[in-house]
Structure formats: structure tokens, C-alpha cells
């Protein structure tokens, strides 16, 4: 019952952060180029169940998502297949230039273990206090449910709210008359 109330709380006050993602800076390491991160993140693509993000050389994935303004991250949702969906996911706030070689250099802001139930569409609440001023989020998918070589992700949704700041990128230069 408590989880039920948590999930309703998520949807009540928080918004989908899709509109605040800085697409030019989104990067995914170890993605299969024909099944790229866009399939899991972008509106339209992520709703299509046939389009998936897949890992390439091994099961790990490293997704870096910068935002156009400072946000507060409340919870996240990952949908994926029961067998190949992500299991252990580490989240890092404001750590740019991360690679697989230095994922263990910093303590993650939060570590989430996804269950098959979560992968069917149940959002996971994060340590809200750790994500109060987020400019970029790095999602490190460490392993998948059954230890397969390829991890598949169908949809990633981030829920949160914006901090009241000016979107500097939205400003336009005013021409002199």
C-alpha cells in the first residue's frame, strides 16, 4: 500500500523531464549503433516497443544525459524485457566525462536494483536529497537480470521538477534597432 501511495506521489508533483534534456550532449557508451540510446529516450521512439537500446561489446551501458537547466530528480522508470533488462543501475549526478574506466572512482549518488516488476513500468523513487541540483545525470547500467551478454532497454523516463532558474540557452540576443 505504501508503494502505491509512493507511485501516486511521483505522478502528482513531478513532471517528465524529457523537455529539459540537452539532446546535443546525450552520449551513450557501448551502445549498438543500430539500436541507439535515442530508441529509449526520445518521445515517440521510446513508446514504440519494437525500438530498443541494446548494449554491444558486453552487458554494460553508460548513458550521460545533460540538461538544459538545473533540475531536481525524484524518480525514474526503466522498461525493458524481463530477461535482458537492466538490474543494477548506478546514478551519478553532475559527473561529466565518465567512462567505463572510472565508474568505480566516484561513489554513486544512488544505486538501484531493478526487479522484473519494475521493468514492467513501475517507477523507482531515488534518494531525492542527492539529486537536488542536477545539471547532468550519468546512468551506469552495470548488469542485467540474467547475466546475458546484451542488455536491452525499451524506455527510460526521468521524473522530477525544475529549479526556478533561467534557461540560458533559451535566451536570444536582442538586435539593436
Amino acid at each position: 500500500m505504501s508503494t502505491e501511495s509512493a507511485s501516486t506521489a511521483i505522478t502528482r508533483n513531478q513532471v517528465d523531464l524529457l523537455d529539459f534534456i540537452d539532446w546535443s550532449g546525450v552520449e551513450c557508451l557501448n551502445q549498438n549503433t543500430s539500436h541507439s540510446v535515442v530508441n529509449a529516450l526520445k518521445q515517440g521512439y521510446r513508446e514504440d516497443e519494437g525500438l530498443k537500446l541494446e548494449s554491444d561489446a558486453d552487458e554494460q551501458l553508460l548513458i550521460c544525459i545533460p540538461f538544459t537547466q538545473v533540475i531536481k530528480l525524484h524518480s525514474m522508470l526503466i522498461i525493458g524485457p524481463e530477461e535482458d533488462g537492466p538490474r543494477t543501475v548506478k546514478l551519478f549526478a553532475n559527473k561529466e566525462h565518465m567512462g567505463f574506466s572510472n565508474v568505480s572512482d566516484y561513489p554513486p549518488s544512488d544505486t538501484v536494483v531493478f526487479t522484473p516488476e519494475h521493468l514492467k513500468g513501475k517507477p523507482v523513487a531515488l534518494k531525492y536529497v542527492k539529486f537536488q541540483s542536477v545539471r547532468s545525470l550519468t546512468i551506469f547500467i552495470e548488469e542485467n537480470q540474467e547475466g546475458a551478454d546484451i542488455t536491452q532497454v525499451q524506455k527510460i523516463v526521468l521524473y522530477g521538477s525544475t529549479v526556478e532558474t533561467t534557461d540560458m540557452k533559451g535566451l536570444k540576443k536582442i538586435e539593436d534597432h
Binding site: N30, D56, A57, F100
Partner: protein
């Protein structure tokens, strides 16, 4: 037009002092690097290129990825050659340099020049390769210079572990008269992944290099249609030759098969028919072959007579038939020494064509015809010489 950040790993070890690539391996490599930098920065204005050296005191990054071509070219001057190449360290440093690129949209690519032996195990290289693949870095390898110690195999293994949807390439460049950069210009390292823009890329690079080894000696930039026509005709000719070679091979195989089949009683009739047919074909072929052989044998003699006519031409206007006869006689004597030449002389049409080419000799003249007939009959040089001189005198 791929948006790329490239790190080029230069081999400046002692091995690159070798002069088997002109002028030296190192200089040839430097030229190729200049060319690649030009091509990369031209293909997309936002492309960046960086350079590091793998030998010397250690791996040294000369320029971090930049789009400033002047900066890149300037760092290539005054490089010292020395030490041993450290391939693994070089690639890893290059990867690190690429990781911190400014523009995350750029694809990452490392180009490695390996002119000295590779001391690392295949396993080590494969681990590095997998790491590159995981970090979505493409790798191009230019294998030149030293070949021993399973170097090509090791590099191939490295490439295989990196290669992701054919974005990485390896080029083996053996030592030879061609400049390293000229060889590279037609490879996927320059032309990209076979995209539409690829040829333009190469052409731009060629223009940047200031010309050089064009196919057929035609600059494709100046006359693209002519270049295309030449290329197409060359390809057609190649296809034709291949088809002909295949046909002869097939025929040979067929005949081999028939001879083995001929033991089969039920097949005997067909086979016999086929054999006859095959023999006919063979006869025809051998005849053609002999004709070709005699033609090629005839070449020296025809050039011989050509020379004699030239001699005659060069003589005074007062040249008389006596001298002509002498010259002809000499040439005939010389050619007659060779037994093979007798056959040629026996060939009436050939002889008459030669005679026709001689000034003042009418091949339709009955005496000449007599002479030719006698040539065919005996092929005795002495006799025919007498005949010939007689005939000339008659004139």
C-alpha cells in the same frame, strides 16, 4: 560527412629510420599524416585531429584534438626519432585524449601507424581492442615497415576486437616505389565507410596534396567525365579478361572431367562426341597459339627489315637497286641463321607483306613470287639470296 574527433598515433621509433619507403619510413609517415589531417579537417569543418608519438622517452601528446590545421602541421616539425614503439600505451593515451573532447557529438577515431615490430601479446591487444569498442572508438591501422614476429596477425586481431559494423580498417602497405600517402589515399582510411561523400573526400585530399599519382595520369578534378570513362573502360576490360580466364579454366576442368568419365560405359558415346568436339577446340586453340607464337617470333625480323628500309631511306638519292639488294640480303641472311626464322620465311603472306613494305619492290612481280615459292620449297638461304639478287638486278 561524419563528424569525427581523430587521434593519430605516430611511430617515431628507431625502426622508422629505415629507408625502404622513400625517403625514410618516418618521412613517408609524416607525409601521410599531413594528408590525413588535411582530409579530415576538410571533410567537416567541425572535425578535430590530434597527434601523439608512441616512441621516444614515452608516449607524448603533441596536439590535443583541434581543428586548427596549422597547429597540427607545425607540431610535426623537429620530431626526434628514437626509442621503441609502445603500441598499447599509445592507444590508451589516445583514447583518453578523445574522451575529453569538447564536442560529444563527434565520433571517436584513432589512427595508428605501426612501422616497427609489436612486442605485445595478441591477448593484451585484444583486451585493449575490446575496451575501445566498449567506449565506441573506431580504430584505423596502417601496417608498414617491419613485418616479422607475427605483426600483421597481431594487428588483425586487434582490429577484429575493435571492429564494430565495419567502422574500423587496416591497411598493409608493403615497401615499394609508391609513396605511403599515395597508397593510403584510395583506402577506406581516406574514403570513409564507403559513403557517397567518400570519393569527394579522397578527391579533396588529393587536391590538398597537390596532385601526384592519379589513375591513368588524369586528374579527376579537372576532367571528371574522362576519368570516369577511363575507369569504366578499365573495369570492363578487367571483367572481360576475368571472364576469359574463367572460361579457359572451365574448359580445362571440363576436359579433365571427361577423361575421367570416359571409363563410364554408359557415357562412352556422349563422351566420345564431346571429346572430338573438345579436340577440335583444342586444335583450333593450338593453331591460334602457334600463329601467335610465329607472329611474336616474326617481330624481330620485321623490325629488322624495318631497320634495313630505314637504312635505305637514309642513303643518298643515288641509291641503286644493288645496294638495296645487299641490304635485303644481309637482313635475310641474318634472320635465316635462326632456325625459327625459317618458319617465318616460309609464311608466304608474311613475307609478301614485308616485301610490300620495302620501297621499290613489287610483291606482285612474278619473279618475286617465284622467289617466295622457292623459299617455301627449300628454305635454303644461299639459293634464295642468289635468286633475290638476280631479281633485283633484273629490275
Amino acid at each position: 560527412m561524419v563528424l569525427e574527433a581523430t587521434m593519430i598515433c605516430i611511430d617515431n621509433s628507431e625502426w622508422t629510420r629505415n629507408g625502404d619507403y622513400s625517403p625514410t619510413r618516418f618521412q613517408a609517415q609524416a607525409d601521410a599524416v599531413n594528408l590525413i589531417c588535411g582530409a579530415k579537417t576538410q571533410s567537416n569543418p567541425e572535425n578535430t585531429v590530434g597527434i601523439l608519438t608512441m616512441a621516444g622517452k614515452g608516449v607524448r601528446v603533441l596536439v590535443t584534438p583541434t581543428s586548427d590545421l596549422g597547429k597540427i602541421l607545425a607540431c610535426m616539425h623537429g620530431l626526434e626519432v628514437g626509442g621503441e614503439m609502445n603500441l598499447a600505451a599509445g592507444i590508451q593515451v589516445a583514447q583518453l585524449a578523445l574522451k575529453h573532447r569538447q564536442n560529444k557529438k563527434q565520433q571517436q577515431r584513432i589512427i595508428v601507424f605501426a612501422g616497427s615490430p609489436v612486442k605485445y601479446d595478441k591477448k593484451v591487444l585484444e583486451t585493449i581492442g575490446k575496451k575501445l569498442k566498449k567506449n565506441s572508438v573506431a580504430l584505423d591501422i596502417v601496417d608498414f615497415g617491419e613485418e616479422g614476429d607475427e605483426k600483421p596477425e597481431k594487428l588483425e586481431a586487434l582490429l577484429a576486437s575493435v571492429n564494430n559494423s565495419d567502422s574500423s580498417h587496416i591497411v598493409h602497405v608493403p615497401a615499394g616505389p609508391n609513396a605511403l600517402s599515395d597508397v593510403l589515399i584510395s583506402t577506406p582510411i581516406f574514403t570513409g565507410d564507403g559513403e557517397g561523400g567518400g570519393s569527394g573526400f579522397a578527391a579533396a585530399a588529393a587536391a590538398a596534396s597537390g596532385g601526384g599519382g592519379y589513375d591513368f595520369g588524369v586528374d579527376p578534378n579537372l576532367d571528371p567525365e574522362l576519368a570516369l570513362a577511363l575507369r569504366v573502360s578499365m573495369e570492363e576490360e578487367r571483367a572481360r579478361q576475368e571472364a576469359a580466364a574463367k572460361k579457359t579454366a572451365d574448359e580445362a576442368a571440363k576436359q579433365g572431367g571427361e577423361s575421367s568419365n570416359s571409363q563410364d560405359a554408359t557415357m562412352t558415346e556422349n563422351v566420345a562426341a564431346d571429346d572430338v568436339k573438345g579436340n577440335d577446340q583444342m586444335d583450333e586453340e593450338t593453331a591460334l597459339l602457334q600463329q601467335a607464337l610465329s607472329m611474336s617470333m616474326g617481330d624481330p625480323s620485321s623490325s629488322h627489315s624495318g631497320k634495313s628500309t630505314g637504312d635505305v631511306d637514309m642513303m643518298d638519292a643515288s641509291t641503286d637497286d644493288q645496294e638495296l639488294a645487299m641490304a635485303l640480303q644481309m637482313s635475310v641472311e641474318e634472320s635465316a641463321k635462326d632456325t625459327e626464322m625459317n618458319k617465318v620465311l616460309g609464311d608466304q603472306s608474311f613475307m609478301s607483306s614485308i616485301l610490300a613494305s620495302l620501297p621499290g619492290v613489287d610483291p606482285n612481280d612474278p619473279s618475286v613470287k617465284d622467289l617466295l615459292a622457292s623459299l617455301q620449297g627449300q628454305g635454303e638461304p644461299q639459293k634464295k639470296d642468289e635468286d633475290q639478287s638476280k631479281e633485283e638486278e633484273k629490275k
